[in-house]
């Protein structure tokens, strides 16, 4: 079934001025209407020209040096081919440096747990309580270790956003991951969690997020977590992928 053409909304769409629901409706129509796609292409051409219309100013002279020095630095880093792919990926995360909170336990983890627990939908209260108990037990276990640490996973600026925290004991095999502010995905997509060892990503399963983009996952690895070098979250087609295709969050363990 083809809906009405969307002429009235094309200009607003090209300007990015539609509300999300309107945009979704237009997207649906565009998927099946070449005529409106052509109109949109024209509207986008016009919109693109607006980019050249502001009053023109030169940037401060010092900026040139900063830009060139920064790229020079990045070029040196990228030239180092000895680094594994996931490390190269991480240097591509603009302005974001890996943060590692070694030994940061009690307070942060408690907050993490409370936030995680509060967000859960109590559809099945009993089941939920059981899961909570298991999770609490896991968190307590992990915290008991003097080596426990909290790893923050952050994403690319401008990427879909979201955060995650992984609580782990490097000597143990289980860890606890809580995400927040991850976008809910379309049904044909899923989030997938990865641990990376010797440059090989190992899937730790797929997940969806609930309210506020929160998901709480008990990670079960088949070897001690200190043997992994990194943890990541990617967006994959439903069912997951054998290899990550679209990594959105990553950090070293």
């Amino acid at each position: 079934m083809r809906d009405e053409h969307v002429d009235d909304l094309i200009d607003l769409y090209a300007l990015g001025a539609l509300e999300p629901d309107e945009q979704g409706a237009v997207d649906q129509h565009l998927d099946e209407c070449g005529r409106c796609r052509a109109l949109l292409a024209q509207a986008k051409e016009l919109v693109l020209l607006l980019a050249w219309t502001p009053d023109q100013h030169d940037p401060p002279p010092a900026l040139r040096g900063r830009v060139l020095r920064r790229v020079e630095q990045l070029q040196r880093l990228d030239g180092d081919d000895a680094r594994p792919w996931w490390q190269r990926f991480m240097t591509g995360l603009d302005g974001w440096t890996p943060r590692l909170s070694v030994g940061l336990a009690g307070a942060m983890a408690a907050v993490l747990l409370v936030v995680g627990l509060r967000m859960v939908r109590l559809q099945d209260e009993v089941q939920s309580l059981r899961v909570q108990l298991q999770e609490q037990q896991l968190v307590v276990d992990v915290l008991r270790s003097p080596d426990s640490r909290l790893v923050s996973l952050a994403g690319q600026p401008g990427a879909p956003g979201g955060r995650a925290q992984l609580l782990l004991d490097p000597k143990g095999r289980r860890a606890y991951l809580v995400t927040s502010e991850l976008e809910p995905l379309a049904p044909e997509q899923t989030y997938q969690l990865w641990l990376i060892a010797d440059n090989k990503p190992v899937s730790m399963g797929t997940f969806q997020v609930g309210d506020a983009g929160v998901a709480r996952i008990v990670v079960q690895a088949d070897k001690p977590l200190q043997q992994f070098q990194a943890v990541g979250v990617s967006i994959e087609p439903a069912g997951g992928s054998p290899q990550p295709t679209n990594v959105i969050l990553l950090n070293q363990i």
Binding site: Q42, L46, L48, L49, T53, P54, L63, G158, A186, N246
Partner: protein, 233 residues
Amino acid sequence: MVRALHVTARVRWVLGPMQLPMCYEVAATVVMFHKVGETANVEGVDEELIERLARGELAALDALYTRYSRPVFSLALRVLGNSADAEEVTQDVFERVWRHAPTFSAERGRFGTWLLSMTHHVAIDSVRKRQRRPQTVSGEAAEHASRTLADMRADVADATMQSLQAQQVRRALRSLPESQQQAIELAYFGGLSHLEIAAKLGDPLGTVKARIRRGMDRLRSALEGFGVEGDIS
């Protein structure tokens, strides 16, 4: 939002040019008689610089910076409203130029269009992040989108045409009734939706929509003959 994400992922998997039909017919002879702007792409200079940059020559980035830092910074400044943030965006944009140079040269696109389109996306993303507003287009999606735009038909005399059209558009934009110009600018430079614009201006819903459409129509007719207007049958 969900949809934007979906698109992101799909594009990244396909990793090929999306099908965005571009109707961009230009009377090249007209171009010859107009003053060439400072960022004009004479004889494929941009493409050559991008190729050199892809081979790792930072001098090429320096040259591209000389050619384009002004429009990039000016656009970022217009969106962000202060020099510090605009500088940050400018730096980010040129870093992306370096990063994507290898794929860009393969696409033989129009560099200026791609660059400013990317600048716009990065600047709007930055504004939204500051306002903690949900992003309708993710940065990565934006990048892919702008790379697709770069794949538009490259038979146009690139920046010559752009700077020429920019003058025309600037003039046309400023000749619009104040309210139409304001609505279009708040959408494009402010990253606001029509509802947000209506709220900001205290106008009834629907009014802003109509203003934007009327304004865009006027721009279109003002620019007729410059390749912006095309026939759809």
